[in-house]
Subunit: 193 residues, 2 copies
């Protein structure tokens, strides 16, 4: 049960929102996107349905809020790896390994509802941020002689994200890591044939 | 003007269909997907609107028929390159160069209508065929020592198609060819780091 009766209305609202998003995350993890309904959220939070509808007009807007937070969490996770120790190449592999894992886990969702969520503007925004920061990391890699210089870093970043989209169809984390190795091998300075 | 009055009804129908798809292709090339309307097709073919509606219930079904044929044409083009001269690696690069060009030209279409077309079952079918034949070509490449053997050929095929999806955002054919080089470099037998 969330602590609903806080000192201020603002805190109260935030607590309700947190409780809703927490229960939503649990429902998605257990039953997939289709398992999330207003009734189950009301039940899981202990918030009455009437109150719930004052906060969110429908289940789609709850899923959108949950997804936006999830995407933001992924970006933070990837940014932490980018800022970690090691050469640009090492950090790039760490970021791409994590991204491939995210892509692979995404695949479990119901494709139709998942596609609807992914058309949201927050996804396009997150992808642009990710392309930019991967591009910066790749530019560092070029400067360090670890990454090929015959293609613009931001174009190489797009190559990485597209290539790792293939992680969605892979059967294991090990296969996803191999996909990252394949992708990263494509980034290495061109060798003489 | 198409030759509409042939010996048999079947030939006549085929001629109408051909004329419609030919005019549709020209309209898409000139004005994009949104430029295709029943009126313009009627005008371009010289077929009355009433007759046109007996063949196709709406412009969406005309676009679907046009797209299905276009995709089939692309598959034939790629299969011819696969069956061309040279080592598996040479033929693979030729196939991927052509595929990247197709992806790049696709980008000119209106994204929303384009996405609707691409949800059609014929696209999924064509993608499966393409994955299968690229997988076969990659397996030949593995046998010839030109392609890495630490990932299944069909998974490498998925990597290729995903990676070349990035061609859609590239500014030139030259950039698309570089993307193919990057992608193919990822396929080479693993080198010691």
């Amino acid at each position: 049960m969330p602590k609903l009766w806080n000192e201020t209305i603002e805190e109260h609202r935030r607590a309700v929102r947190e409780a809703v998003l927490k229960v939503t995350a649990a429902l998605v993890a257990e039953q997939g996107l289709r398992g999330v309904t207003m009734s189950r959220i009301a039940e899981g939070t202990g918030i009455g349905r009437a109150t719930l509808y004052k906060y969110f007009s429908d289940v789609e807007s709850i899923l959108a809020a949950w997804h936006e937070r999830r995407i933001a969490g992924h970006l933070e996770e990837l940014a932490a790896l980018r800022d970690g120790p090691g050469s640009p190449g090492t950090r790039l592999t760490a970021v791409l390994d994590a991204y491939a894992g995210i892509q692979r886990r995404r695949h479990g969702h119901d494709p139709a509802s998942g596609a609807a969520l992914h058309r949201g503007p927050h996804v396009a925004h997150a992808e642009r941020r990710l392309l930019r920061f991967l591009g910066d990391l790749l530019a560092e890699g070029v400067a360090a002689g670890e990454v090929r210089d015959d293609m613009a870093p931001e174009e190489l970043a797009a190559y990485c994200l597209h290539a790792l989209g293939a992680a969605g169809g892979l059967p294991s984390e090990a296969a996803a890591r191999t996909l990252v190795r394949v992708t990263v091998d494509g980034l290495r300075p061109a060798r003489r044939a």
